[in-house]
């Protein structure tokens, strides 16, 4: 998939794609790679507009919702493309971008209702173990769990410090590696 197509997809997300670009995207809508990219770009776009932050992640319900919304959005993105395919060329003119956007938001609303009802059922009894699983699935920090032994924590800190040293060269990367180290050292000692 070429860069031009990726740019067209990005433009479509911002409601700025012209008819030719939409047509090009629709022609390739069966392509799995395109659908995966559509899903990813949608999620990034949502973060931009929602201002969702990291501290929302640790509540088990929030994690569940966001992953389900993400899934729903990528599914919805696919649905939107499939439906558009069935329309005639004449209707591609003005309604396409707004229609896809509308369908995306409708999908989000549906997903929210769906996920809230799912989340409220099975999780009430197994909050503890599920939280661990959810954390692990989300790839989130296990360091904060008390189960990491002090000597392992120490070793991890050494690796992190070394890695930060490897990443900072002449200030090219800004202070992010150092900020990470500072944040780490705060809690580990």
């Amino acid at each position: 998939m070429d860069d031009r197509l990726k740019e067209s997809i990005s433009a479509l997300l911002d409601d700025e794609a012209d008819e030719l670009e939409i047509r090009r995207i629709l022609n390739k809508s069966g392509d799995d790679e395109l659908r995966a990219l559509w899903g990813r770009y949608n999620k990034v776009s949502d973060v931009l507009s929602s201002g969702r932050h990291a501290h929302d992640q640790f509540s088990p319900m929030d994690i569940d919702i966001s992953s389900r919304i993400s899934d729903a959005i990528s599914d919805e993105g696919e649905l939107g493309l499939i439906d558009a395919d069935e329309e005639t060329h004449s209707s591609l003119l003005n309604r396409k971008t707004s229609q896809v956007s509308f369908m995306r938001w409708a999908g989000v609303a549906a997903a929210l209702v769906l996920s809230v009802s799912i989340v409220f059922n099975p999780f009430s009894n197994d909050a503890g173990s599920d939280r661990g699983e959810l954390l692990a699935d989300a790839g989130l920090s296990v360091l904060e769990e008390p189960s990491l032994e002090p000597e392992h924590a120490r070793k991890l800190n050494e690796y992190m410090l070394r890695h930060a040293g490897n990443s900072v060269t002449g200030g090219r990367t800004g202070m992010m590696p150092l900020v990470r180290v500072a944040s780490l050292s705060m809690n580990a000692y």
Binding site: R40, S141, M175
Partner: protein, 345 residues
Amino acid sequence: MKVPFRQKKYQAKLSACSLICCSLILLVGAFVVPQQGFASTEADEWLEHMVSAMKTQSYRGVFVYSRGDIFSSMNVIHRYKDGVERERLVQLDGEMGEILRTDDKVVCILPGNREISLEQSIPAGPFAGAFSQTLMPDKNHYTVEIKGEGRVAGLSAVKIAVMAKDTYRYSYLLWLEKTSGLLLKSLLLDEHGQTLELFHYTSIELVDNITDAELQPNKKAGVVFSHEQVPAVKASKEWPEAMVWKIGWLPQGFMRLNAGDDGVVLKPSHIQVFSDGLASFSVFIESPGKGNMPEGKLAVGATVAYVHRLKWKRHDYMVTVVGEVPFTTAMKVAETVVPEISPPK
């Protein structure tokens, strides 16, 4: 005013304004690739402003940083004067801690009266030149675009998205101050759009009046500090049996910045450092010993550590990959590291 970020190729009428803008950009010698709108060159220019401002803009401010659910606030003072860059990061939460930097030399002042000097790792090897000037995301692996405008810490900002083209690296959203290009806010996102790391100024002043006193650490007088040195990655002959390690798999676009052996901090161990221009990871190879971490993955915000025990001939080795990459990348790299024995010289 919305920043126009795409040139519509089949648009019949170009306004006079756009024509002038385009010719100005051509005159300035911007790199124009047919089929890409001027948006991507403009986004590139913003990134260049960002890198330049990181080094040459003087400022003082307070920012919030989060990794996972741990938030911390820090005070930063940064000065560029007479060709020398100095920076001081002060932790504002929990115990007192500071990081001081003068060009490439870093000193961390940690709780418990510990002072650690980090010797900088200077990239060496055939690809080092590519990274010597600026750290720019490679177009083959990231889509860089201007996404609009915003306001951060009371200042107008341009929003830039640096989106990974595959799942082996993370994506970034950046807010750059409109006049200087200084990074005011950034989000590091995984492939599900989840924020792994947040960096956000709550207040900042772009000033020229930073004094030397402001850059001095706040060390209690009369307290004895222990000194440690974390050396840079340098090639050496410490590793027994003159082993050469081969990295069997690398995600596209990642190149080795440095390789060497460390006989001091993690002993003995071999370290290789890789970067794609934006993200980086380090590979540590050691003999197993006490204190080695259990196999598997650990994540601390955006940084992941993946530990793999390699059994090779009659020896065991611990391979640990640490970096700001998805854990699948760390895992694939860790599991395909193999030794290549070469006869001792």
